[in-house]
């Protein structure tokens, strides 16, 4: 990690857990369990894994340590102070570099040597290569998914859904149980935000609260799952992990990906349609291999399958130009795509094995390149296709023909235009020549028509002494500004008129292969593409094949494509993969409960956290499969549970044993995500657009550098022009439809932890910082929408302050205020009306909103800024 020392603070928090883990030192350590992981992470790279071992010393087996290297035996059993391995580590010589072993780790090694360097079992002849230790083989997440029995619990009255016994059993072991069910107002707000990312309307709340039917909750749930808003909300979760962006990133120019939204729309549609997840994943990994070649004259279904592969086109891509090292840029696209795929679907940090064997997980460098070989027929770095070349046209055959005709006409007309322009240039030149003394004119003319390197010194001198002679197509406007302006305007219009005949361009970005072009994948020594080593074949990570064997074809004869990704996708989704469904259901769980059963949703490896409820995780994965991979069924099962429907209030007795609520003895209080905050403000004010899909709402920079939704009207030098282009409802579209320009994060979203894409967002942080407070207090949009909210409330409540307070409260929080709260709100309105009225100058009274309305807006803004608004119980 090349982070300078003074930048290390940020990651200190990561360190706490790994240090704390070594807190209670084992008294009698054994090699496989306690020592090998330390050496694997810190020493094997030079002493075991590389082509040659430094100092001819191999540390992969205790036996080999005793055998030693150039400096003699490294280990003398029972004598730590005589053993080189201990001496060199204690002296700080090893490992070399800044990263040293922790005191506890050193003590553990010392103790192990002192106690006789014990191993769990006799060591093999040679160190395991491509083989795994028992600890690795038996690691929890690599085991086949079990179908655990639903545990029995004492408090059966608290069981509403099959997930409840799993959670409750553990609580009961801690002599506890679920909290009481939350009230209906809390439930409908929680449920609506969780499923749709928006608050319930005041009417929705009242209807639900007063619904006497016993299945009121279940009907509400079905209603929300059927809403188009559901796909926007859950699609956004998936876009996080896919690393969705509307720009290429990587280089400073951050080119716009005009058609990336096709993938976003695809995702939202699949969630709304409840497409089975196995299909959803196969299409994203290999949709192109399901569509017959050539990709022309596409049907809707084919276009959709191709759009799905946008998943593999989300990584930043600097290959359209401007990257310092184009080959590095190409290989980075592949590396980043591998990170997206492996963190989202496998929950493993496979990317760590790009340069050397994974330090913690049993993923060898070879495994990484076998995995990479799945993608190389489409991402062939030696026959690279730039982003523009990875767009497939959605034109029909006729549209294509029309376009070609129009293009030919434009080319003709452009030739005519250039000829006319050259005539003007010549005319200006002749005039400039006319200003010269008679005797120089002829050589000036000759000089101009002579190539620069063929000019006589005299000719060159004339051009140099009279720089104004160097007129050309580009500079002629400096001489004849008005004429050239008219010329250009007329011609631009003429060409534009022709262009209107051209059918509108429409493309879908996708990952495809070039049939018959299958590169050989090589392992890159130290991850450097300039140092290719042995060739490798495509394949699944070997550690995952122990219980679930598979063969990935090098080139499937049944398909025009290589068939690699398709075979892998089918292997992943055949229902027997140990990781995929665990990883998926863990994410679904996380989005409802605030934390996953595995709290590191993209690391199910040795450094990840262990599941808090392992049986539940497996049971959920099994159930998800049995339910046909359908997410809406899964939501129903989770959301009807007693676990989900609990109150969120902390219970002191549970707080002492479980402050982080890992046992789920209550619901966790969660802050709204950035998008939900913006969308909810717009929904309260009534300005939120409900338009689905389509081109993203553009972002731009205002005159002080804040990124807002709007059209960029800056001039070519980046200066504001004060021009305003109204974009109507586009300005108020849901945040999922706002352009994700990597270099221009929206000012309204960024302070609230919108995802940073490097390359995807596995888990959003939740920060609480002063810029968020300043935004809620003073931001133009917030103040503007508060006024909109106030006007809307006036429309419902008229000018009666108590009713205004009540209605606004109901809309913002989904519950009525107490009488004390109404009274306090009314006093606030009275005070603010007075204060604001006193500030409106007499000549402005007619122009400004009335003081009472401004006071109400100020009240609405206080509601927006309050914790009751920003958090969900």
């Amino acid at each position: 990690m090349n982070i300078p020392v003074f930048r290390l603070f940020g990651i200190c928090l990561l360190v706490i857990s790994s240090v704390a883990g070594a807190g209670d030192l084992v008294t009698d350590p054994v090699f496989e369990t306690h020592i090998r992981p330390i050496l694997k992470a810190n020493c094997f790279h030079c002493h075991g894994e590389d082509d040659k071992y430094e100092g001819k010393l191999d540390l992969r087996l205790a036996r080999l340590m005793i055998l030693g290297g150039d400096n003699g035996p490294s280990l003398i059993s029972g004598q730590p102070d005589q053993s080189l391995i201990v001496k060199r580590i204690v002296a700080g010589d090893m490992p070399p570099g800044e990263k040293k072993l922790a005191a506890q780790q050193i003590e553990l090694i010392r103790r192990w040597v002192a106690n006789g360097a014990k191993t769990d079992r006799p060591e093999p002849q040679s160190p395991p290569v491509g083989d795994f230790t028992d600890e690795e083989r038996l690691f929890w997440s690599f085991q086949p998914i079990s179908s655990p029995k639903v545990p029995t619990v004492a408090n059966t009255g608290q069981v509403h859904s099959p997930v409840d016994p799993f959670v409750l059993a553990k609580l009961e072991r801690h002599r506890s149980n679920f909290s009481n069910e939350a009230d209906r107002r809390t439930l409908i707000r929680r449920l609506t935000f969780d499923l749709c990312g928006l608050p319930p309307t005041a009417e929705d709340v009242e209807q639900y609260v007063n619904d006497p039917a016993p299945d009121a909750y279940e009907r509400l749930l079905d209603q929300l799952l059927a809403s188009p808003r559901y796909g926007e909300r859950w699609g956004r979760h998936w876009l996080d992990i896919a690393g969705y962006a509307d720009s290429d990133g990587y280089t400073e120019s951050d080119p716009v990906r005009t058609y990336a939204y096709k993938y976003r729309d695809y995702v939202i549609r699949q969630f709304n349609a409840d497409k089975p997840f196995d299909q959803f994943i196969v299409e994203q990994l290999a949709g192109d291999e399901l569509v017959p070649l050539p990709y022309e004259n596409l049907t809707g279904d084919a276009a959709e399958k191709l759009a799905a592969t946008g998943f593999l086109r989300m990584a930043s891509d600097g290959t359209s130009g401007g990257a310092a090292d184009p080959n590095l840029a190409k290989n980075d696209v592949i590396a980043e795509t591998i990170k997206v795929v492996s963190t989202s679907l496998l929950g493993l940090t496979v990317g760590c094995a790009q340069c050397h064997n994974h330090r913690y997980d049993p993923i060898a460098q070879t495994d990484y390149y076998r995995f990479r070989a799945l993608f190389e027929p489409a991402y062939d770095w030696k026959n690279w296709r730039v982003p523009q070349a990875r767009l497939i046209s959605l034109w029909s055959a006729e549209q294509l023909k029309t376009a070609q005709q129009v293009d030919a006409e434009i080319t003709n007309q452009t030739d005519v235009r250039m000829k006319e322009l050259d005539a003007i240039v010549q005319e200006v030149f002749d005039r400039e020549v006319g200003k010269l003394p008679e005797e120089q004119r002829e050589s000036a003319r000759t000089a101009r028509t002579t190539a620069a390197d063929k000019r006589t010194p005299e000719q060159a001198q004339i051009l140099k002494d009279h720089p104004s002679l160097n007129v050309d197509r580009g500079s002629v406007y400096l001489y004849e500004a008005a004429r050239i302006n008219t010329f250009n305007t007329e011609w631009d219009k003429r060409i534009a008129d022709i262009k209107t005949k051209r059918p509108k361009e429409d493309y879908v970005p996708c990952l495809t292969e070039v049939p018959g072009q299958i590169p050989t994948t090589h392992l890159f020594y130290r991850g450097e593409f300039a140092q290719p080593k042995q060739a490798v074949n495509p394949g699944e990570l070997p550690i995952l094949t122990l219980a679930h064997a598979t063969e990935i074809p090098v080139d499937d004869p049944q398909l025009p494509t290589s068939g690699r990704r398709l075979a892998y996708a089918r292997h992943l989704t055949d229902g027997k993969h140990p990781l995929l469904t665990r990883v998926l259901v863990n994410r679904f769980w996380m989005h409802h409960f605030g934390k996953g059963i595995v709290s590191t949703p993209s690391d199910f490896g040795f450094l990840g956290e262990k599941p808090s409820h392992p049986e539940l995780l497996d049971w959920l994965a099994t159930r998800f499969l049995a339910d046909g991979w359908q997410l809406k069924r899964f939501h129903r099962m989770l959301l009807t549970s007693a676990a989900y429907r609990q109150q969120s209030v902390r219970r002191p007795e549970m707080d002492t044993v479980d402050p982080d609520n890992r046992l789920l003895g209550r619901m966790s209080v969660r802050r709204l995500e950035a998008e939900a905050i913006r969308d909810t403000i717009l929904s309260c004010s009534g300005s939120l657009s409900d338009k689905l899909f389509g081109t993203p709402a553009p972002v731009t920079v205002d005159d002080v550098g804040q990124v807002i939704v709007g059209i960029d009207t800056r001039d070519s030098a980046g200066r504001p022009t004060d021009k305003k282009v109204t974009i109507g409802e586009e300005e108020f579209r849901r945040s999922v439809y706002v352009q994700v320009r990597r270099s221009l994060p929206l000012g309204m979203l960024e302070p609230f932890d919108m995802p940073t894409l490097s390359p995807n967002c596995e888990l959003r942080p939740v920060s609480t910082v002063a810029p968020q407070a300043l935004l809620m207090m003073n931001n133009d949009l917030v103040i503007h929408e508060a006024l909109g909210f106030a006007r809307r409330i006036q429309g419902i409540a008229g000018d009666h302050p108590a009713i205004q307070v009540t209605k606004a409260w109901l809309t913002a929080f989904g519950r009525p205020p107490t009488s004390d709260q109404v009274a306090a709100g009314v006093v606030f309105l009275t005070d603010q009306t007075q204060q604001i009225a006193a500030r409106i100058p007499a000549d402005q009274v007619a122009k400004e909103p009335p003081a009472a309305q401004q006071a109400l807006a100020n009240f609405c803004q206080a509601l927006f800024s309050s914790n009751a608004f920003l958090y969900v119980d």
């Binding site: 706490i16 005191a103 990587y250 280089t251 104004s468 007129v471 800056r714 300043l774």
Partner: protein
């Protein structure tokens, strides 16, 4: 184990300043070195807490007076006797023009007189009478070079190290590397001109691919001075106080129903901090606290330079309160004198000369000059030949131009390097933009090679692999007593 981890996070969140805390950092630093660093499962968090200067700093703050457009070095900073002699003769060298239609090969001597100023005797133009008073405190670099003839590209070179845009600006790097000394104010402040933004607009204070926390905060040339810092005027003061009081009441009630929720408490205190920031920023910008003598020093009583003087005085007050980097921009192309230079150049000097010199004087008498680096300069100089004989001007020249620095470890009373006999090309002791950057990072105790940021395309830095050399000649302390 996760409990331990998480409860610490709660503790930190409660402090309302994000996840990192200086005290904790120090406590943990040994552990950070000893324990294997986990791969970033969580991304590193970034903050603006003050960071120790890795080396021995001479400067702790910087004020950059950016003269966008390109002041004519030939008419202001570097007398050229040979040019005087050859006035109106044809220039024999190769020249790159920006505007060919108006270009002329005729040399044009400076119409303004130069004279020796201060004890050092550096020659300055009569257009800069005030600068002459502080010439013994400044180092005039006469052979600056970027070599790219367009405004935008040359601004980028000086501001972010490369001719391309989209990279982090100087102020962003300093904020990233060193944080701010005052939690209630931004680390990196921009004071833009009321007549408009300079060329490249907001690019000038871009954070590029550094976290956006390090972007420059614009103190606007009119009220409201800081974005999101103040509500509209009619909601300020007592109205906002009542707003915050009511919000606090709402939140306290809510908190009593959510006992033990640290995040909720942290958010309550984040509003308090935000309110403090409002006060602190306003206090910093309150010039009524300055004496009449100081206000006059900056020319606040002179309509010609009062506006620019106000911003110079803001800059001093911000630096005094712990802001790391302040950049003042003159308006769009105000120094770009392609024509009418005979009146436009004196005009710009009247706007900027007195306040710029006052800043040096004022910092010095307050003991702040030793640790505050002051920069004055544009992205280019001008050509020795005429552009537009009908309305005389000078075209772009990035092959040689002048810039001055003062304070923060810079040697005073020095004129360093030279352009050729006509003022066209830097020839003696050339300082490229990357040398300038290496030098000033050094003055801040930062190693130009170590101040880096990891990004998908590789490691990013200000110098970006260019061979920037520290210009030891212009520093008070040479390499022998430098700590890096």
């Amino acid at each position: 184990m996760f409990l331990n981890h998480h409860s610490r996070r709660h503790f930190l969140a409660q402090s309302g300043v994000g996840l990192s805390s200086l005290a904790l950092t120090w406590l943990l630093q040994d552990q950070a070195k000893a324990a294997p660093v986990k791969p970033t499962l969580e991304r590193p968090t970034f903050d603006l807490l003050p960071k120790p200067h890795p080396g021995k700093p001479q400067a702790t703050a910087m004020i950059s007076l950016f003269m966008q457009g390109g002041p004519s070095h030939i008419d202001l900073f570097e007398p050229k006797p040979e040019l005087d002699k050859r006035h109106m003769q044809n220039f024999s060298g190769q020249i790159q023009y920006d505007n060919a239609a108006e270009a002329s090969a005729k040399l044009f001597a400076s119409p303004w007189k130069f004279s020796k100023r201060g004890e050092c005797g550096t020659e300055l133009s009569e257009l800069l009478p005030h600068l002459g008073h502080v010439v013994d405190d400044i180092c005039l670099i006469r052979a600056m070079h970027t070599g790219v003839n367009n405004h935008g590209q040359s601004i980028n070179a000086l501001n972010n190290g490369r001719v391309l845009g989209g990279r982090p600006s100087l102020g962003a790097w300093l904020s990233y590397g060193l944080g701010t000394e005052n939690r209630n104010l931004p680390a990196f402040v921009i004071l833009s001109d009321p007549q408009g933004l300079p060329v490249l607009g907001v690019e000038n204070w871009n954070n590029g691919w550094l976290p956006s926390l390090y972007q420059g905060t614009v103190i606007r040339p009119k009220e409201p001075r800081i974005l999101n810092l103040d509500p509209p005027p009619k909601l300020q003061g007592a109205v906002q106080k009542r707003f915050l009081g009511y919000l606090d009441q709402l939140n306290q009630e809510h908190l009593t129903q959510h006992p033990g929720e640290h995040d909720l408490a942290a958010r309550i205190s984040s509003f308090e901090l935000a309110a403090r920031m409002q006060t602190a920023a306003k206090e910093a910008l309150d010039l009524s606290q300055e004496t009449e003598e100081t206000q006059k020093l900056y020319g606040l009583d002179n309509p010609k330079c009062a506006e620019y003087g106000t911003r110079c005085l803001f800059a001093r007050r911000l630096i005094e309160r712990g802001v790391r980097f302040v950049q003042i921009h003159t308006g769009n192309q105000h120094w770009d004198h392609h024509g009418g230079i005979l009146t436009a150049l004196p005009n710009m000097c009247q706007v900027t000369d007195q306040p710029s010199a006052a800043l040096v004087t004022d910092l010095k008498r307050r003991g702040l000059l030793d640790t505050t680096l002051v920069h004055w300069g544009g992205e280019m100089g001008r050509l020795p030949v005429i552009q537009n004989e009908k309305n005389i001007g000078r075209d772009h020249n990035t092959h040689g131009f002048s810039t001055w620095l003062a304070g923060g470890g810079i040697k005073g009373g020095l004129a360093y390097g030279a352009t050729d006999e006509f003022g066209h090309k830097a020839i003696d002791k050339v300082v490229h933009h990357f040398d300038y950057h290496a030098t000033l990072l050094h003055l801040f105790g930062l190693d130009p090679l170590k101040l880096t940021f990891q990004r998908p395309g590789g490691t990013g830095s200000l110098l970006d692999g260019q061979d920037g050399k520290i210009v030891w000649d212009i520093l008070k302390n040479g390499p022998h007593n430098a700590a890096i």
